[in-house]
């Protein structure tokens, strides 16, 4: 019984982490229409930035987290202005740019700090015990942050003026521009937010797991799975997509081999796409 409770708790925690990692990716894809494959690399650089600030410069870990998010938000503005804006509306060029960014970011980090094994210290330490089941506070905290940020992001998009502009751009960028919305400004905000979210995810998960140059590759695959499952254009749907993928990844390894686990997860996505090409809550893209 105890192990079943632990499995359920772990499924929820892992799902929330996937949600945290996928929300920035979903935002950029939904608003800008950019399939940003560099999201994983940005997540990794965000984690390293937090490490640098907290460990090398001795700053408070919380302050480091906020600063890392800020730095990556600025980096997002740079990316939007100089890497993605010149190719606005050109899906394939933006994909190639994002793939190039992966190599640039990974190689840069690998050459500068890559040979050392690193992990961020826990933002919250200790264990949370209920009955006979114990949960790491670090994981619990990361899960809470992940879900909270997703709700905050959803609220921001639905309730704020900028969020409404984002929705308008996402639905029809030319129509939005004709209404006086500055689409490049909206895209820049979306990209900055997406990169900041990636940095928060990279920092928190760099504490739960570890920091390495290629940590973003693994999480990118999960983020893509979550976004495809939840549906492009649906930020809120990421929660359900994350829950499904996280539960599969938590439960299946206990009862079957790793290869079958991965096959089942991907088969579910393929079947779903055959039945519902736009994903669970998504809209169809042009």
């Amino acid at each position: 019984m105890e192990i079943i409770v632990e499995i359920i708790i772990n499924a929820i925690l892992l799902s929330s982490m996937y949600v945290l990692a996928a929300s920035g990716f979903a935002l950029v894809l939904s608003i800008m229409g950019v399939l940003n494959f560099a999201h994983g690399a940005i997540y990794m650089v965000g984690g390293y930035a937090c490490y640098q600030l907290a460990i090398e410069y001795g700053l408070n870990p919380w302050l480091s987290l906020f600063l890392a998010a800020g730095i990556m938000a600025l980096f997002g503005l740079f990316l939007e202005r100089f890497c993605f804006r010149p190719f606005y509306g050109d899906f394939f060029s933006s994909v190639i740019i994002s793939i190039a960014l992966i190599f640039i970011l990974q190689t840069s980090i690998n050459l500068t700090v890559g040979v050392h094994v690193r992990s961020l210290p826990a933002f919250v330490s200790g264990m949370f015990k209920v009955g006979g089941v114990s949960v790491s506070m670090e994981r619990l905290f990361t899960a809470v942050i992940g879900v909270s940020l997703l709700f905050a992001l959803t609220l921001f998009i639905r309730k704020s003026k900028t969020g409404q502009q984002m929705l308008a751009v996402a639905q029809n960028s030319e129509g939005a521009a004709l209404q006086g919305i500055r689409i490049h400004r909206v895209a820049a905000i979306a990209m900055a937010l997406g990169c900041a979210l990636a940095a928060v995810a990279g920092s928190l998960m760099g504490a739960v797991f570890d920091l390495n140059t290629f940590m973003g590759d693994l999480i990118l695959v999960k983020a893509i799975q979550v976004v495809i499952l939840s549906g492009i254009g649906s930020i809120g749907g990421v929660l359900i997509g994350g829950l499904i993928i996280g539960t599969l990844d938590s439960v299946l390894p206990l009862y079957t081999t790793p290869a079958i686990t991965q096959t089942i997860g991907l088969t579910i996505i393929i079947v779903l796409l055959l039945i519902r090409p736009q994903g669970l809550f998504g809209r169809e893209m042009d």
Binding site: E6, M17, H116, V117, K222, L254
Partner: protein, 404 residues
Amino acid sequence: MKRNSLFKLRGGVSLVVALMFFLCMEPHATAKPKTLRIGFLTGLTGFASDSERVHLQGAELARDWVNEKGGVTIKGEKYLVELVPEDHKCTADGAVAGATKLVYDQKVKYIAGTIMPFIIAAVTTVTEPAHVIRSVAYNCGTPQEFSAKTPYTFLSQNGTIGAIISGLKFLKKARPEVKTIAVFIPDDGSIPYLEPQVRKWAKNNGMEVKGDIVGWPLNTVDFTPFALKAIKINADAVAMANGWPAMIGGVLKALRENGYHKPVIGLHYSQAKDVMEVAGKEASDNYFIHGINTNTPQKTDIVKWILDRGQTKYGHQRVAFFIEGFDSVFVLAQAIEKAQSLDTDDVKNAWEKMDDINTAYGLAHMEGQETYGLRHAVVGPRAIEGLEKGAVKSFGWMRDIKVP
């Protein structure tokens, strides 16, 4: 005036004669050592490059060590080692491309490095038909990497099977109460070959492998589900064969967070400090691994030199990874010198006939006939370190390791 011209003429003739004499003498006076080119294939990019780049640094240290001692002497001629590094990108196709470039473009006849089973197996498809000698830096026990069908491939260290043998022997000595073990192995194709070895050597040490092997994919993000699976087995100890520090640390952390506080041992080679970096101090207890650090007693002179030079040259002391790269070049250089020939068939034959060979860890022996189908494995002593209450501790050396 005439006298002056005669003086100039004599001077010119003398100069020409002196120059000719100098030119004739030059090759003998400044006889340059020849170059022995050794390819080094490693992951400079790709998912394991953080560790594999340290292998290249270790190989460079071996080059320096050999060259500073005068190089390799073949029939009285000195050869200085020149490394030709190539990136295998941590993918099988990258490994084939890298090996092809080394063998056919760079024309190297010896290749050191590579540790992952699918990389080693991929490179074999290029090097074996070309009769290129390989000194691989690790081995996971699959016949595709290393068997009677790969006569030009040598293993420069104990490999996973050597670590299984010495690790379980150590566990029996350090924790005699352990009678059952749960075993983690990466799902990289090596499980079917390593499982019988673990079961056999556990039995030889009075232990039993309980339940199925806990396989985990190399692209695992969270090790908690696998830790829960191992905990469900309810064994007296957990043994992990292979994995990088980030992965091992992830498993150790997940085991401890989920209430498993019994002994955990790594049946491979790494550094406890790196594992603790990922697992965190709270989880770092009752853990052992084949590893070496600055506080390990009775370090060899080569290990001390590697620690010093590694710190000076590269600014770190990830000595276990340095040595994997170091030994793959160092033992190869010794085999070439033993052969007294640069011909790869001569080197292969000479290496096969060697009984003893030096490694950074100390004197090793050529073994592995029964296990691998050829006597191509360099098997030597290993230090054990561990984690106790959040601190790295040395547990001495395992010296009588034999891979049949």
